[in-house]
C-alpha cells in the first residue's frame, strides 16, 4: 500500500534549535536550573524542594532542547519530571505525619553532602577543562542530527543492544517485585 510520493517532506526540515539558538534563552534556562538547584539545597520544606527539583529538571530539559537533543529533553520530562518526581511527591505526602514537614539536616550530614558535592564538581570541572572545545561557530554543524529519534533508535537497538535489554529486564524485575509486594499486603 503506497502513500504516494512524499519527497516533499524531505524539503520541510524540522527547525534545528542549535542553529536558531538565542543566547538569551540559553542563559534563561541556565539561570533557572542553577537558581532552583541552589534553592533545593537551602529549602527546608520538603514539598517545596520537590517543586524546585521540578524547575531544575525542566530547565535542564530546556537546555537539551536548545542543544537539539529534543528526544532526550522529552524523555527527561516524561521520566524524571512526570514519573519519578511525582512518585517522590506521592511518597512524601503519604508518609509525612504533620502537614508542612520541615527537614533539618545534622552537622555531619551537611559535611558529607559538601564533600560529595565538591568532589563531583571537581570531577566535572576536570572533564570540562580536559575535553577539546570546538571553534566558536563550528559546534552547531558538527552536532546536527545527533539527537534525532531515528539515530537514537538505531544506536539503542544496534551498538548498545545489550545494555538496553539489561535495563529493560531490570525494570521488568522491579515492576514484578512491586506488584508482588502490593499483592501480599492486600491479602493480609
Amino acid at each position: 500500500m503506497g502513500f504516494g510520493p512524499l519527497s516533499i517532506l524531505a524539503q520541510v526540515s524540522s527547525v534545528d534549535p542549535a542553529q536558531q539558538a538565542a543566547p538569551a534563552l540559553f542563559y534563561g534556562f541556565a539561570i533557572l536550573t542553577c537558581l532552583s538547584a541552589w534553592a533545593i539545597v537551602v529549602t527546608q520544606n520538603i514539598v517545596r524542594m520537590s517543586v524546585y527539583l521540578l524547575l531544575t529538571l525542566g530547565g535542564a530539559a530546556g537546555l537539551y532542547f536548545m542543544l537539539g537533543a529534543e528526544f532526550l529533553a522529552a524523555i527527561q520530562l516524561v521520566v524524571y519530571a512526570g514519573g519519578t518526581l511525582i512518585l517522590i511527591v506521592f511518597g512524601i505526602m503519604l508518609t509525612s505525619k504533620n502537614p508542612f514537614m520541615q527537614l533539618r539536616p545534622q552537622g555531619w550530614e551537611v559535611a558529607l553532602a559538601v564533600l560529595i558535592a565538591v568532589s563531583i564538581g571537581g570531577l566535572l570541572l576536570l572533564a570540562l577543562v580536559n575535553s577539546p572545545m570546538p571553534e566558536s561557530g563550528q559546534a552547531g554543524n558538527a552536532l546536527v542530527g545527533y539527537g534525532h529519534v531515528s539515530v537514537i533508535g538505531k544506536a539503542l537497538l544496534g551498538a548498545y543492544l545489550v545494555p538496553f535489554e539489561v535495563a529493560a529486564v531490570l525494570l521488568l524485575v522491579v515492576m514484578i517485585g512491586a506488584a508482588y509486594i502490593a499483592r501480599r499486603r492486600a491479602e493480609e
Partner: protein, 398 residues
C-alpha cells in the same frame, strides 16, 4: 526574518487567541447542551448591554461568558490562613502552562508555499512531534498535586491523591496508543502523521479500537465526566480545588477546557487525518487560501470532538473510583499492550495497513471471549466491617 519563524509566530498568536476565546464559548456551549439534554432552555438572557448600554437585544445569551468572566474577577479572592501560600498561588498557574505548551506542535494548516521556501503552519515543527505532547502532558499532574497539598485540607488532599492516581494511570494507555501510531507511520512528527493519513485513509479506519481507547484516555486526562472524580462533590466537597475561589478557581476550569481542546486536537491529528478533507485531494504544498481551508477543516474536526465530549458528560453517570482504576489497569492497558504487540508483528512482516483492522477486530473478539474467563479479584462492593461506617455500629457491641 526567516519564513518559518514568521509563520510560527503568527500561528502561535492566532492559535492562543482563538483557543482562549473558544474556551469561554465552550463553557456556554456546555451549559446550553446540558440544558438541551435535560429539557431546559439554558442561559439565553445575557446580551452585551449588561444593563448599562442602550443596546437592548438579548443576543441569544452570547454575552454570558463575558459576564461570567467579570463576575469571577470581582468575586472575593480568599486565601485561607493556614495554606502554604507560595504553592497555593503557584498551583493554578502550573495547571495552565502545560495546557498552553501542548498546542505548539499541532499542525493546523499543512504546508505553505512561501516564495521558494516551504513552511510548516505550526508553532514549533520539532522533530519529536507527538512525543513532545506526551512530555508536556505528564506535567499537568503538578497543578493538581500542588493545589491539593498547599490547601492544607484533608478533602483537598484526598481529592488531589485521587486525581493524580487517575491521571498517572491513564497516561500509560495513552502513551501506548501514541506509540502504536508512531510505529505505523515510522515518524513521530505531527505533520508527517497527518500527511500520511491525507494520502491514504484516516487512521481511525485502520485502528478503531485504538481510537476509542485514546478518546477514553483523553477524557480521563482532562478530568471530564465520566472520569470527573477529581471534583467528586458528593464525597470530597470539591476535590483538590475546595479552597480555591475567584480567578484562581477559574484558572483550574480554564485549564480543564484548554486540556480538552489540546486532547481533541491531538486525537484529530492522530486518528482523524488532521487537516484532510475526506473526498477532495488537496495539494500537499499550497497557497494561503488552501492553508486557511485546511485550518478550518482541522478546527471543525476538533469542534466535533468537543461536542462529543460534552454530549458524553451529560449522558453518562460518573464512575466510582475502583471502577475507574480497574478500567485503566485491567482493561485499557492490557488491550493496548496486545495491540502494540500485534501492530509491531504486522509492521515487522510488512503487511498492508488494512491488516491492522483485522487485528483490531480479533482483539475485540478475544477480549469478549477471554474477559468472562478471568477470575475477578475481590471487589470493593463487599461490606467492610469498619467501626463507625454505615454497616457497623460506632462502638463494637461489648
Amino acid at each position: 526574518m526567516a519564513p518559518q519563524l514568521l509563520t510560527s509566530l503568527v500561528t502561535m498568536i492566532i492559535a492562543v487567541q482563538l483557543i482562549l476565546l473558544s474556551c469561554a464559548y465552550l463553557i456556554l456551549l456546555e451549559r446550553k447542551m446540558a440544558a438541551w439534554i435535560q429539557n431546559r432552555i439554558g442561559p439565553n438572557r445575557v446580551g452585551f448591554s449588561f444593563g448599562i448600554l442602550p443596546f437592548k437585544h438579548h443576543c441569544w445569551g452570547l454575552g454570558q461568558p463575558l459576564a461570567d468572566g467579570i463576575k469571577l474577577f470581582f468575586k472575593e479572592d480568599y486565601t485561607p490562613l493556614n495554606v502554604d501560600r507560595a504553592l497555593f498561588l503557584l498551583a493554578p498557574v502550573v495547571v495552565i502552562i502545560p495546557a498552553l505548551l501542548g498546542w505548539a506542535i499541532i499542525p493546523w494548516g499543512g504546508y505553505l508555499q512561501w516564495g521558494d521556501a516551504v513552511v510548516n503552519v505550526t508553532a514549533a515543527p520539532i522533530s519529536i512531534g507527538v512525543i513532545y505532547v506526551l512530555a508536556i502532558g505528564s506535567l499537568a499532574v503538578y497543578g493538581v498535586v500542588l493545589g491539593g497539598y498547599a490547601s492544607n485540607n484533608k478533602y483537598s488532599f484526598l481529592g488531589a491523591l485521587r486525581a493524580t492516581a487517575q491521571m498517572v494511570s491513564y497516561e500509560i494507555p495513552m502513551s501506548l496508543c501514541v506509540l502504536i501510531v508512531i510505529l505505523m507511520y515510522a515518524s513521530p512528527r505531527a505533520d508527517v502523521l497527518v500527511q500520511f493519513q491525507a494520502n491514504g485513509v484516516w487512521n481511525i479506519f485502520y485502528q478503531p479500537v485504538l481510537a476509542v481507547i485514546f478518546y477514553i484516555c483523553v477524557l480521563a486526562e482532562c478530568n471530564r465526566a465520566p472520569f470527573d472524580l477529581a471534583e467528586c462533590e458528593q464525597e470530597l466537597v470539591g476535590g483538590y480545588h475546595t479552597e480555591y475561589s475567584s480567578m484562581k478557581w477559574a484558572l483550574y476550569f480554564l485549564g480543564e477546557y484548554m486540556h480538552m481542546i489540546t486532547g481533541c486536537a491531538f486525537f484529530t491529528l492522530l486518528f482523524l487525518g488532521g487537516w484532510d478533507l475526506p473526498v477532495v485531494q488537496e495539494p500537499v504544498v499550497a497557497g494561503l487560501g488552501w492553508v486557511l481551508l485546511k485550518s478550518g477543516v482541522f478546527i471543525s474536526k476538533v469542534g466535533f470532538l468537543l461536542f462529543l465530549m460534552i454530549w458524553i458528560r451529560w449522558t453518562l453517570p460518573r464512575f466510582r473510583f475502583d471502577q475507574l482504576m480497574r478500567l485503566a489497569w485491567r482493561g485499557l492497558i492490557p488491550i493496548t499492550v496486545i495491540l502494540l504487540l500485534a501492530s509491531g508483528v504486522l509492521i515487522f512482516l510488512r503487511q498492508p495497513h488494512w491488516t491492522f483492522l483485522a487485528a483490531n477486530a480479533a482483539v475485540v473478539v478475544g477480549v469478549l471471549i477471554v474477559a468472562p474467563l478471568i477470575p475477578h479479584g475481590p471487589t470493593i462492593n463487599r461490606r467492610i466491617p469498619l467501626a463507625g461506617s454505615r454497616f457497623s455500629p460506632a462502638e463494637p457491641a461489648a
